[in-house]
Amino acid sequence: GQKPTEAPAPATEAPATEAPATEAPTEPAMVEKGTIKIATQSPLSGGQSSLGVDIKNGAQLALEQLAGPLTEMGFKVELAPYDDQANPDTGVANAKQIVADPAVLCLVGHLNSGVMIPSSEEYHNAGLAAVSPANTNPKVTDRGYLEVNRIVGRDDVQGVVGAEYANSLGVKSVFIIHDKTAYGQGVAEFFKKRAEELGITVAGFEGTEEKANFDPLVTSILASNPDMVYFGGIYDQAGVLFKQAREKGYQGTFMGPDGMDSSVLAEIAGEALVSGGGMVYSTVSGPASVYPGTAKFVEDFKAKFGADPQPFAAQAYDAMAICLKAIEDAAMAKGGEMPTREEVAKAIRALKDFPGITGTYTFNDIGDVTSAKYFVIKVVSADPAKWGENEVVQTLDIAPPSK
């Protein structure tokens, strides 16, 4: 249990080391104004924890690097990481615990839409702002809650981007596979819809929870021999599928959504990504060349956590950054006083062109990013170390579908 009445931190608390020591006009004003907590929720244990842990880590890094302005104002900023176990029951219980803690002013989270949707009901009830780094399911924002925001694209857009690009490549037929998760299937459905509208033949549409053995699917793919195989899902499954398909002689192009964006994909699939028609993916987070912050992020992340960030870690970094910025704005507006949750939630919506490391963010009235930038990126090398050199082949600015 926690100590209910924590003694105030020593007044001599040094400013965060990351913040350059060029401030200090009003040095003695460092009075403790209270603790601000920012919670994260993501699966920290269980099978999906590799993504979940890095969501927490990305957020943690942002908090350490960017909390400076708030600490200067005299707040103590803390991270409260929760493990939702990718389970709605746990997520909701945690959500209730989070909202019951008045010090929590913002939340970064959830990996799974299945957890996000019920948990965000609690955030909404309690007026706590949440910024999602990973939930692409349309339902997340379609409820129109003031508190619920996300900085990732929606499935319905990414799928469309993918299909448009496939069309521009001259793809005539495509075999669509998804991972039977809300995310993967969502993207795939929209890809399919758009592809059909564009006159591309959908040679197959299959879902699979399989992680290792794709032989039956590959047989079906080879039988219909499509120009493209689209996989709606995450890289760890995709890598194995692509590898097996190539090994059996498939020569077309692979494509997928931002779940593909990981060097591990190259580690798993290797040559399969560059042989034949190669591999492309759509994403909302551009490569280093577009967002210079990303490269530094990857470097810092590696230095701190000892490994490359997984997908959504950078988004989590930005989600945290948005939380911090919004709290700062709200506090400023109040003359340096502790803002309320409602003020923070409104401050998020009031942000204009917030410069994150994965994009520039402005939210619309339901919490989607207005005019998100979407990229289509081509893998250039089978070497995982060269993942950062992947080439942007198309950039699109697409606004979310208006409701």
Partner: protein, 392 residues
């Protein structure tokens, strides 16, 4: 007399081999026949028409053309399941409880094998261009290391988590096994993340294991489909066969094997025969663990990527295979594995076509389970299991 004994033992070596061939051919033939007949029937219906529209061939020829590759893939998968199922069966046979932690023992084997190969690759001992012979030696080394580690882990688990529970009601060790399973998953994760910063591993590419031996192609519509098998699949099959024969020999033809079976049936009486029960149980776990470890490394070789949770689904499938074949029965485990592997592959490949896309590969597990239930209704003790209980 001497010759008599010898001939018995040769029989124990040949019998499983014969069974294996018979099972493989038999189940392949039966399933192929069913699918061909189905194809012939459905060809006349809307299903046939839609196939015609999509592939420009009749449903029947589509089936025939794909069938050989499906059989090859199904058998390979079947042998993977069989290899894992052997370890389960071994432990189940002796302690009569589902060792939920076997999946993690399997994962330990896989991780140790893969880590060794990664280390070797890091020292540039392994490469894609290396001589094929050397590649095999290193693979065998990794396999042995994985087996040793998994075997050891299994023995330790038995000593700490199961032995204190002997004689407790049946469900107690089951829960303990679930506890061990949770513990090991996170323990692997902990160790891996501390040492490497991440906890999934990918087996390095080396040697010619990924290469596919092709033997011909079948025309399909405008294009054609090549027919072949990967070297690594062959390795999996051969290893599984060796494991089965070895295990079968051990259990059925040696004194230790008989002691294992005796302990399984009645520990108190076994000890009255002069059998050290603890020793035999530990040995069983060692063997079961080693089989699991070997299966883990082979699995990594075949499917490339592993993480601490990698054992869960194959473990479930393997256990299903063991039940399908007749739990506690070694040849049953093999037969169950083959049948399950084939069923899954058949369902995964043809279901979508045969239902015009209404139900596809995602139903392959349901399909496999339904068959399991069907089999158990007619043969309540599995395909090979016998009903020998106490008499009334």
């Amino acid at each position: 007399m001497q010759r008599f004994l010898k001939s018995i033992q040769l029989r124990e070596l040949l019998r499983p081999l014969g069974q294996m061939i018979a099972f493989s051919l038999g189940s392949s033939a039966v399933l192929s026949l069913i699918i061909i007949i189905l194809a012939l029937i459905l060809d006349q219906t809307a299903v046939g028409a839609s196939t015609m529209a999509r592939f420009k061939v009749s449903l029947f020829s589509y089936t025939i053309v794909n069938l050989p590759q499906v059989l090859i893939d199904g058998l390979t998968l079947g042998f993977v399941y069989a290899a894992i199922a052997l370890g389960y069966t071994m432990v189940y046979g002796v302690l009569e409880f589902i060792n939920f932690a076997h999946s993690e023992i399997f994962a330990i084997g896989a991780f140790v094998g893969v880590e060794i190969l990664i280390a070797l690759k890091g020292r540039e001992i392994l490469s894609t261009e290396m001589s094929v012979g050397n590649a095999y030696w290193w693979l065998i080394l990794a396999l042995l290391a994985g087996m040793a580690a998994a075997g050891l882990a299994a023995v330790v688990v038995e000593r700490l988590a199961y032995r204190p529970l002997r004689g407790a009601p049946r469900l107690v060790p089951l829960i303990s096994a679930i506890g061990v399973s949770f513990f090991l998953q996170d323990a692997i994760r902990l160790i891996e993340s501390i040492t490497t910063g991440q906890f999934h591993r990918i087996i390095p590419t080396f040697g010619n294991f990924d290469q596919r031996l092709t033997f011909g192609s079948m025309p399909l519509g405008a294009g054609s489909i090549s027919l072949g098998v990967q070297i690594k699949s062959l390795i999996v099959i051969i290893a599984a066969v060796v494991m089965l024969i070895g295990l079968n020999y051990l259990v059925n033809a040696t004194k230790v094997g008989k002691a294992i079976r005796a302990v399984a049936q009645d520990r108190a009486t076994a000890s009255l025969m002069g059998i050290d029960v603890n020793h035999i149980i530990a040995l069983t776990f060692l063997i079961g663990g080693m089989l699991g470890g070997a299966a883990g490394v082979l699995y990594a070789l075949k499917f490339t990527r592993i993480d601490p949770f990698v054992g869960f689904f194959p473990g479930l499938k393997a256990f299903t295979a063991a039940v399908l074949g007749g739990i506690g029965n070694l040849t049953g485990a093999l037969l169950g594995g083959i049948v399950l592997g084939l069923l899954e592959t058949f369902a995964g490949t043809f279901m979508s076509i045969f239902t015009m896309g209404a139900a596809g590969a995602e139903y392959k597990d349901i399909f496999a389970f339904s068959i399991l239930i069907l089999v158990l209704i007619f043969r309540p003790h599995g395909l090979m299991g016998e009903n020998v209980g106490q008499k009334a």
